[in-house]
């Protein structure tokens, strides 16, 4: 699981915007992430897999790992749907 080249995260206006370096950003429908999303993004950049990320989320937010894993997988699905992952 890797983030496609060219997709980077930038902070603006209190949230995180997904940039597409060299491509097009459509501000009419841009993708923004909250802090948790940004955390997951950074973890993927570091090469972590879904289980590792879920463990991290579970620790920080004090939820059980199963819930965290379900949410992390949902998020990864969304990222896939947006064509951000490879």
């Amino acid at each position: 699981m890797k983030i496609k080249e060219g997709f980077v995260l930038r902070e603006a206006a209190g949230s995180f915007v997904v940039m597409n370096i060299g491509g097009n950003i459509d501000f009419n429908g841009m993708i923004t992430l909250n802090e948790t999303g940004a955390l997951i993004w950074r973890a993927i950049e570091e090469g972590k897999d879904a289980e590792d990320i879920a463990k991290q989320i579970a620790e920080i937010y004090e939820v059980d790992e199963a819930t965290a894993l379900r949410d992390v997988n949902l998020f990864i699905d969304k990222m896939n749907g947006a064509g951000i992952l490879e």
């Binding site: 603006a12 949230s15 915007v17 597409n20 370096i21 060299g22 097009n24 950003i25 923004t32 969304k78």
Partner: protein
């Protein structure tokens, strides 16, 4: 995941995006570029200019007061560009190089993307820029007629 944004907040991102050779698409606001661009209905795709912006190009620039403008170059002079919205009669000068963020490469019309290099844009832009005297005269006459017969008329 989607939300509206303020241009001034997104400006650093737009700049980085354009500097990287990419493009930025967003809906336009205001009526200054009618009839070509409709307020909040039409969008433009901006890129960093590949060559010196020239007459008839639509440029995206930032004024000294911080506001973002999308107007057409009607003349290139030594001190900068003379710009004017397609729906306006007053010119703005100088718009200098350091104010320019990008140039429009495509725009939407009824949700269809049209290149600025298209024939229709070519003829439309020449018509718009070169018939300004007619628009000014028309507006002037409208103002007089309104004054004589309109809401502000004395009875």
């Amino acid at each position: 995941m989607n939300k509206s944004f303020a241009l001034k907040d997104m400006f650093p991102i737009i700049k980085e995006q354009l500097d990287s050779g990419g493009s930025a698409t967003f809906a336009i606001h205001g009526t200054s570029m009618l009839p070509m661009l409709k307020d909040r209905k039409d969008s433009v795709r901006i890129i960093k200019p590949k060559e010196q912006p020239k007459k008839y190009d639509i440029i995206f620039y930032r004024r000294k007061d911080g506001s973002f403008i999308l107007h057409r170059i009607v003349k290139v002079k030594k001190g900068g560009y003379i710009c004017r919205g397609d729906n306006q009669i007053l010119n703005e000068f100088p718009v200098t190089e350091d104010m320019v963020i990008g140039v429009v490469e495509a725009y939407t019309r009824n949700n269809e993307w049209i290149s600025v290099n298209s024939k229709r844009q070519y003829f439309y832009s020449r018509f718009k820029v070169n018939t300004i005297l007619f628009l000014r005269t028309k507006r002037y006459l409208e103002a007089i007629i309104n004054k004589l017969f309109g809401k502000g008329a004395k009875k």
